[in-house]
Symmetry: D2
């Protein structure tokens, strides 16, 4: 489906990546290579890496080669904002909070993958196909010309993408989710191999609370200048499994009203949203791919669908306890982290939130 | 805890293993090595293997060496019963049914790991700590002096062991279970490595139906000469994960009456049953090990507890939707297959079901 | 580096894939999607699959979606040649031989990945950058207008690509190679997961002999209408490791004459050959990528370099016993199978071996 | 084979483990549980852990439960020697050197798994079946009543066990070895899972040098009060593979004199040494198990042979370049670390090196 409107920029926007040497930081660097709107001009990391060339500071673990132009960039100290208007933060949560604020106060639009500001009342926690309207919160923020936008936890993104069309069509009252999460979600060095080879670890610190809390905020309703959390009961059990990329989630749902299996299926299959309508560069063709094969989706086969930006749903069927159950799969470091943040930035720009950047106003009806 | 009664046999009972070359068959052979009650005297397999020495017919995949005395046994045709009084069947389900009947009609007590007879009204489906009393069904069977006893599906065994004390203490109305199952559960050749390395397969053919159906039969009540299925609603989602041995299950339960977390914990921790009281050779010291560490149980660390016969339970906590949730772990080819069948045979003998074998009557109060 | 000549075709050549449902067959289908020279018009498989639509006959295991146009093709019986001029064979070795002959006799150029005809004196065993001149052998073949070309074993392809420039520059007398091979090399169902998870299997049937024999033929010299095997002693030890794609090989070499480390490095780094000069569609930019990082190459990081068509070489250093040692990595189902065969076909066409196809004559100097 | 002499102790010797919370330290704790000669009375670690109970300081990763008596021990500071006569060191190499010296000066016999003192001229580097006579070096040491004995690198132990009988029978001139090493060899946290899942890392820092150097020292000849390194050329290439435990090594050897395959096989199969003759508690029944099956040995099947203390050798056959080649397998954290050190201590005691301990003199001819 071709987009019905089109956003064009007069020039590429210079961007910085904070925490550029880590696992998610590297994904940002890889995804920004060749991006039609953004040009990576600064890589920032901790003081320890500052002053080195990026190629020497990073232990590059992506399967695409490190772009040469980026390899030679000098790493700057993430603690010292430069004048870049758009910043992607892949900082660790234990340092992200104040550093992101500093960049915002210096005038940057900060799109963060860290949890530090996710639950702030004036900070949007955004999945572009789900709650792009929450971006309006930034107008109330305390950071002057700058602002902070946050990207949810990797497990929550795929989950809310599948839930959104159901919530809109039928309402949602209860969600039971058991995750089987990939090891790349834990960053670098992350999960020791001795803990996870031939093993399952049935606990991920803080993850269940994040899923339960973030799902309610994301599916919540913007009410003036705040978000009313959705009144959904969420029960999560999170497991780490020996898979490189791609979180699998086993979901049982209770709807707000009765719906047939066909209705549920159609609503999922037909789901499309603003990023698709605008043809944003990182938007998947469809946010949800519905699979009919009995053993799909699977991480290795489907995590890269739509360049890792789509959520796959399969095994949709009635649940003996709640109403329906299904299995979903989402790429945790693309859609669930760097790719999701890029898409959020694209939507923010399309909605005119990068004020000083003249190109951002060009949203044309077709 | 020392057993309060003691079963002793005057001599070891000769036994045969049907399907001895497969994955579960090999486990039977390994576990029977050095068994105090049983002596493996016959290995039976398909016509293709019959006549070969066992060492040549089997592709031995156990980490303990193939016992020398067994290595030299000539494989016999499983289709032709010999006079052995006790028979363990590890046959594939597509051939097990009629072959097991033939052995039973020839007078043997057949303890089967196949699903073929699990749902027959006159065949007990037994987890010794859970429903040993169901063994009484064999007195009604149609096989003359012989009989058939069945062992449940590997996922169901661990599940019912954890549920039994809860069902007795509080009642159980609804069970939501998501499994993360090891590849050894699929036998040999089983799951192709190309399907499961760096992957999850969210479907195991027939498995969800087995868990849902068998749990109700096992937790059911013996009523005269039949079993009344328990009135429990079970919802299962089964996944295959790249783990060698040990099924992990994420369980949410709704109790029949209100109970505090402490009550639930105590009931699980204190669980003990007839196999422990009798000190049966294959009985674990405790059927359920309750773990307090936040990331336990894990397959690689805990599958071998109590020689692979114990079920581990951890992460016990309230469920936001049902009453409580927890994670359980059970060794799928020991407790969940060969070891479970051995224990069932031991209990049957202790209860005097191997009529012709004089030793079986010696159940002494201490 | 831009190619110095350019091959262009007036129209895409219709091609068939034999054994299209297997692991390598699927790779052919995936790689042919969007190929500038070839159009997949027929998928052939065993009688069992014939008559079904391809989507129903195949258990698609590629990470790219099954192309829709192909999904609807009706599978034809591989035993019955159609009039297609170019055929890729991914048939199992136990049936490939006579079927491929039938297609050749029917006039097709058969490019085979099976071993059946690799050692025939009149059949070229081709790695396009190494011994494209051996293609001349087909003019002597007994198949009328048709011909058979073969692609080597997956381990041999990467090995000979790294050895070729060294053999040309310095001569080669002895090669010691230990492989760590991915599981996809074994096809489907291939290696059971129970054999390879948390394990190494230090034996692959027939593999060591293939490497030893094929290396000598490929590096041999075309002498009139036959190939003189290279006089190189090869010692191989083959291991299967739990890696999805990408064969790693630890190679020690003895050169024909003394050479410094710098000379060896330069020769590898500068290697380029006819497929690069012609800019063939499947040719990698460089056949060998030389890595300087101390722990490179690695399967997950480097198997997809140059779309899986490049061989990576790293850890080049003196060997305490022979002259030099290094580690190489090659994608076993792309370069080592389907992609290698495509490139061989492209070179054959550029050299005018697809006689009836007029487009094949267009090899223009730039 | 029953031992021909017997060592008995009048009482168990109290021992301490330094670095008790790490991966190898945990193995020491597990193996010392129930040891007939030794009683673990002190667990020592870094200052950070000192003062905590062991159960709280350790992240227990063994598949056997943490022994209760040990769980309650208070961790002491490894930097402060106590009066324990026998000490096992599992300290990291960056701190081990001076701490081990302190304990030796305080009078302890220190058996170390660290590399710090391995190459000291007066420190024996011991594999008990290979060079037990090197223990005599400790009489020349500078540590007063105490002494330091070292255990080699995990890869070297298995290798020298297989080489020893060949060196004695035929001489050895050149060794080419390629290792496929398990992840447990890297300790905790060790190899990040993101680096090794679906991957091979063809480099282990310092490992090749250790194998090359230690093999020459261990196979060297004690000449008065120093060791003459063996004049063997060793070429090593070390790889990390996704295997939990068990190092696989592909070995090619050149003998000092011509020998038939049968002679080589017999010499390996018949190998036995002093630890077997003395029936030391940790000695394997046979140091080398020779396998005939074409695909053996394999880590998962054979690492636990003889309680993890045996080395497996298989695929013995002529090498096209050197004389013979074979595959060996050895458990890297049992035989290759903690178990090897225990056996070295047992041999030292049997040879009377624990002077003050009266029990050490009891070596009786049977």
């Amino acid at each position: 489906m071709a987009p019905d409107r089109q956003v064009t920029l007069s020039a590429r926007i210079p961007v910085a990546v904070l925490g550029a040497t880590g696992s998610v930081g590297q994904r940002f660097v890889a995804l920004l290579h060749g991006h039609p709107w953004f040009e990576l001009t600064a890589v920032a990391a901790s003081e320890r890496s500052a002053g080195k060339r990026y190629r020497d500071a990073v232990r590059w673990m992506q399967s695409s080669p490190l772009p040469r132009a980026i390899a030679d960039l000098e790493v700057v100290n993430a603690g010292t904002p430069s004048g870049v208007a758009l910043v992607f933060s892949a900082l660790d949560a234990d340092v992200a909070g104040p550093i992101e604020e500093t960049w915002a106060r210096a005038g940057a639009l900060v799109v963060s993958n860290a949890k530090s500001h996710r639950y702030d009342a004036d900070v949007p926690l955004v999945v572009p196909e789900v709650n792009g309207d929450h971006l309006a919160l930034v107008r109330e923020q305390r950071y002057g010309r700058g602002a902070i936008i946050t990207n949810p936890n990797c497990s929550t993104i795929g989950l809310t993408l599948a839930l959104k069309p159901l919530a809109d069509a039928f309402g949602l009252s209860r969600i039971h989710v058991v995750t089987l999460q990939a090891i790349s979600g834990a960053g670098l060095p992350g999960v020791p191999s001795y803990e996870i080879l031939d093993n399952v670890v049935p606990f991920i610190s803080g993850e269940e609370e994040k899923i339960q809390r973030e799902t309610r905020k994301i599916l919540g309703r913007l009410d003036g200048n705040r978000v009313q959390d959705a009144e959904i009961v969420v029960s999560a059990q999170c497991n780490r499994v020996p898979v490189v990329d791609g979180h699998t989630e086993c979901v049982s749902i209770e709807l707000g009203r009765r719906a047939s299996l066909e209705e549920v299926r159609d609503v999922l299959a037909d789901f499309t949203a603003e990023p698709q309508a605008l043809g944003l560069p990182s938007a998947p063709e469809r946010p949800v791919h519905l699979h009919a094969a009995e053993a799909h989706p699977q991480p290795r086969l489907h995590r890269d669908l739509d360049r890792g930006m789509a959520t796959s749903v399969g095994r949709l069927r009635p649940c003996e306890i709640l109403d329906y159950k299904f299995v979903l799969l989402s790429h945790n470091t693309i859609r669930g982290a760097a790719g999701g943040a890029l898409l959020a930035a694209e939507l923010a720009i399309a909605r005119g939130l990068l004020a000083e950047h003249p190109a951002s106003s060009v949203v044309a009806a077709r």
